[in-house]
């Protein structure tokens, strides 16, 4: 009887623990699934997602992915912000999150990609003054991302995007952008995310960019 009691008790605890990690996976899957959806493709949508990822991150504290996604959504919010005065504050918030992800996960190609995006986002505040500082900084993070994982399609996506939106006088080029984006598509085709909630965003965006060039 006693044994039965203990096993019952134990089962209860296990169910609770599993529920916890299942809850994490379910919540993450649900939120990650919304990343590439058009309904969240706005500053407000990104803010909402970033808020949710931050809540998950702060509740879990040991998972790097919620921090990573919070940073990704925050930096997108910065890109989409209509009021340029908000860009730095949002970029700072994104930076705080990605640094926490970095502390938990260590150097990682996906994290470097976000760092590169944060540097790029800051240029918009004052391109003339900030371009010379943050342009190269963003490029350096991207180079780091490439070294950490040359198969990461997002490296080439960001490269292509940067080439596309940089004025030709400052080293931008449509043909080079197209090459990078096409390479990125090849990498996407071969890319296998580590899990259902690991970073796997951006393919649809690349296709959209390529369609714009043609």
């Amino acid at each position: 009887m006693k044994r039965m009691l203990f096993s019952l008790l134990f089962t209860g605890i296990t169910i609770a623990a599993n529920a916890q990690s299942e809850q994490y996976n379910d919540a993450m899957k649900q939120q990650v699934g919304m990343l590439d959806s058009s309904s969240t493709y706005s500053a407000g949508g990104m803010q909402q997602l970033a808020n949710t990822f931050e809540r998950i991150a702060e509740a879990e504290k040991t998972q790097w992915l919620p921090y990573y996604y919070a940073a990704y959504c925050r930096v997108n919010e910065a890109y989409m912000a209509k009021d340029k005065g908000k860009v730095d504050g949002l970029a700072d918030k994104a930076l705080l999150n990605i640094e926490k992800a970095l502390a938990l996960k260590g150097k990682n190609s996906e994290i470097s990609c976000i760092q590169s995006m944060i540097s790029s986002a800051r240029i918009a505040v004052d391109p003339m003054t900030r371009g010379p500082k943050y342009g190269p900084e963003s490029g350096a993070f991207l180079e780091e991302a490439k070294q950490l994982d040359p198969e990461n399609p997002r490296v080439y996506m960001l490269q292509g995007q940067s080439l596309l939106y940089t004025p030709e006088a400052f080293g931008g080029s449509k043909t080079k952008a197209k090459e990078a984006l096409e390479l990125s598509l090849q990498k996407y085709a071969a890319f296998k995310p580590e899990s259902a909630i690991a970073p796997n965003w951006g393919e649809a965006y690349v296709k959209q960019l390529l369609a714009g060039i043609k």
Partner: protein, 718 residues
């Protein structure tokens, strides 16, 4: 037996059974009752929460129960944490307080124009200083487009609010710079010695400045040298006046950097093309080199060493005013060395330390002669050495307020030889200052300070109080007031002759209003300045001079209304009179114009990658004295109004692997006469207009950079 068992089973399944849901809802507003959207509402330690809607409302369900910590966070606001029983957590009214950040805080603003990349809310960026047409990458020329500065073309320096060029002092990393301008001809303004690219911050104070600085009656130009570069770079340039080369290497660990820059200029090819008013006997030529080393000694510590060495010479021959039909020779050779070593560190517990030392030596050899006439040629050999040390400690008081205490010592050795006569002197100058920035509230700041100075040469000391107040009216606008006493030693040329002169003194009162939004800046200032103890040369050297200046200034900048265009407009009204030097009574001096206005226009044309810039300056005529008039009509005459238009064009492209920019600049495009004043012969029969050497100056160049993209920098150099 059965009962406890059932209880145990029940307890074991509590985690599953408690999944019953509670609703949490409410609304978030700011302290001013404005609904806040996008606020992240969370129950600490759970995933549960929501983002507030446009009307500030939120509602979500949660499975947790009991008293929990609810947090509400939004960028720009202090995060709110409240303990609440979730069972009753409906229709919550949450109020978020704005967080205090740099943008919302008031800054000391009366009298100063600051250009900085690091600080927000500044009127200018360092780039603005150097992308101004007509400035040719000269800091002082660019600052002349701001209100308060006069359009004086015949003497170097900033003539600010009725003050002479001598009344503006230049400081690099807190230390006074002796000879900040290159040596030039009499009646022709010379360029500043230091490239704007050496500095990350530039503050032009047209009055009421901090007790940290002294020895400028009117104005302080405060320059802050750059820290580590972002990347290594190399650059090459060739222009119509000569070549340049530069290297800046950042170490792999990004802890230290070193670099050098060199350029050589020679104007003979240019003078072959463009006729000058006077005949060049030695075409202006020179060599300029600088080196620097910067070391990050710790997370907050920085050591900087900067050395600059220049050599230049020129000679001109022009018609003698004194002896018609005869020519006059003027030749000059200049050697200059400047060093600056500075160190800063956070000592912890709110203490900061700044240490600096600087040494400069300047040597001019001048030869003047009226050919074929006695007296014999004049030879002047002058040398000025200045050594100095500076120490400042800063103590943070609370979150924003701070106290600064510092001390400095300068040893000046001034030698000059006029033919066979030597007139030398040395001066030990020491100063101590204390100043506190006190934030009564984040919107209201006061700066109170005083400075004590002593010079061994004059055997005189002074105590100069300074005070500044600023109050922020709303997010964008603020009002400010400043008062201060300012002392300065008489000019070296008078001190040389007579050592028992006294300090000159000026009292400033300033009131200002400014409104800075993302794309627009509006600023207005009124001032009153009283001069005491100015140097007079008549009957003998004395300190009996007096004067005043009062006026109103306006600055407007707009970066939005016209696409790809950034422009600013400055206007200064100046009413000033002074009795100094040989003046018979108080009168508007010859360097002061009543109305001055400047328009700076910058247009980028992306389709052709072309930057077009223009600067238009206007000033009403300045007084001059025609000695044929009686003394009672001293300074009654006026020169013509000044009108000048300067242009620059930059074309960006790529040559091979190097980013390249082609540059064309032209000053006084319309060729308007520029009449700065008149010189009279001693018999009063003849006069000569004081004006530029040629009506226009143009420049063509190409710059290439490898590594970091420095093209922007090249554009900015124009």
């Amino acid at each position: 037996m059965f009962k406890p068992f059932a209880t145990l089973i029940f307890l074991a399944f509590i985690p599953l059974l408690t999944q019953a849901q509670t609703t949490v809802s409410g609304r978030v507003t700011s302290a001013k009752k404005k609904p806040l959207a996008g606020v992240n509402i969370a129950i600490a330690g759970t995933y549960d929460g929501a983002t507030t809607a446009a009307d500030g409302s939120f509602s979500f369900t949660t499975t947790v129960k009991g008293e929990r910590l609810l947090t509400a966070s939004l960028m720009g606001y202090q995060t709110l944490e409240i303990k609440t029983d979730l069972a009753t957590a409906t229709q919550l009214n949450l109020i978020l307080k704005e967080s205090v950040n740099e943008l919302k805080m008031v800054t000391i603003s009366a009298g100063s124009f600051e250009a900085s990349d690091e600080k927000k809310n500044t009127v200018l960026k360092p780039l603005d200083i150097v992308t101004t047409a007509g400035a040719n990458a000269d800091i002082v020329s660019a600052l002349k487009t701001l209100p308060g500065a006069q359009q004086v073309g015949e003497k170097e320096g900033l003539f600010v609010r009725g003050g002479t060029g001598y009344e503006t002092q230049t400081f690099i990393d807190g230390m006074l710079v002796r000879n900040p301008f290159t040596s030039g001809m009499p009646d022709f303004a010379a360029r500043g010695r230091f490239s704007p690219f050496l500095f990350k911050g530039t503050t032009f104070s047209s009055g009421g400045y901090s007790a940290q600085y002294g020895q400028g009656l009117s104005s302080a130009l405060v320059l802050e040298s750059t820290d580590l570069p972002d990347r290594s770079s190399y650059s090459l340039g060739i222009g119509s006046v000569g070549p340049s080369v530069g290297v800046d290497i950042l170490s792999k660990n990004k802890k230290q950097a070193y670099g050098f820059e060199m350029d050589y200029f020679n104007l003979s090819p240019y003078f072959a093309l463009v006729k000058q008013q006077q005949k060049p006997t030695i075409a202006p030529q020179g060599f300029n080199s600088s080196g620097n080393y910067r070391l990050k000694t710790s997370k907050t510590g920085m050591l900087k060493i900067f050395v600059n060495a220049t050599w230049n010479r020129f000679g001109f021959q022009g018609e003698s005013l004194e002896y018609p039909g005869f020519n006059e020779d003027f030749e000059l050779e200049n050697k200059y060395l400047y060093t600056n070593v500075s160190y800063r560190e956070n000592l912890g517990k709110g203490w900061k330390l700044n240490l600096g030392t600087s040494f400069s030596t300047n040597q001019d050899r001048i030869y003047m002669d009226t050919i074929g006439k006695s007296p014999a040629p004049t030879r002047i050999n002058a040398r000025q050495d200045l050594s100095q040390f500076r120490l400042m400690v800063t103590r943070m008081l609370g979150r924003f307020s701070m106290l600064r205490i510092g001390s400095e010592y300068q040893y000046a050795d001034e030698r000059s030889r006029f033919n066979q006569y030597d007139i030398d002197y040395v001066d030990s100058y020491s100063a101590t200052f204390a100043e506190a920035d006190v934030y009564f509230t984040p919107r209201f700041v006061g700066r109170l300070g005083a400075r004590y100075e002593y010079t061994s040469l004059l055997r005189a000391s002074n105590i100069a109080p300074r005070a500044s107040l600023a109050y922020k009216l709303d997010d964008k606008s603020q009002v400010a007031f400043a008062y201060g006493e300012f002392y300065q030693k008489p000019e070296q040329q008078y001190l040389r002759m007579q050592h028992d002169l006294a300090f000159m003194r000026a009292t400033h009162y300033i009131a200002s209003y400014q409104r800075i939004s993302e794309f627009y800046t509006l600023r207005g200032e009124v001032f009153y300045k009283k001069y005491h103890d100015l140097v007079k040369t008549v009957p003998g050297l004395n300190n009996n001079g007096t004067g005043y200046a009062k006026g109103a200034e306006l600055f407007w900048r707009d970066r939005k209304s016209i696409k790809n265009v950034d422009y600013w407009l400055s206007y200064s009204y100046l009413d000033t009179k002074r009795d100094y030097l040989n003046y018979p009574f108080e009168v508007q001096p010859d360097f002061a114009a009543r109305h001055t206005a400047t328009l700076v226009y910058k247009h980028y044309i992306p389709a052709v990658q072309l930057n077009v810039g223009a600067t238009y300056s206007f000033a009403t005529g300045r007084p001059y004295y025609d000695p044929n008039r009686p003394e009672s009509e001293f300074m009654k005459d006026r020169t013509r109004n000044l009108n000048t238009l300067s242009l620059n064009l930059n074309y960006l492209t790529t040559v091979g692997k190097a980013f390249t920019v082609f540059v064309f600049t032209m000053s006084n495009v319309l060729g308007n006469d520029q009449e700065y004043g008149f010189r009279y012969s001693s018999d009063k029969l003849r006069r000569r207009m004081v004006g530029p050497m040629a009506p226009r100056f143009f420049y063509l160049g190409m710059f290439m950079s490898f590594g970091i993209d420095r093209r922007q920098e090249v554009i900015d150099r124009q």
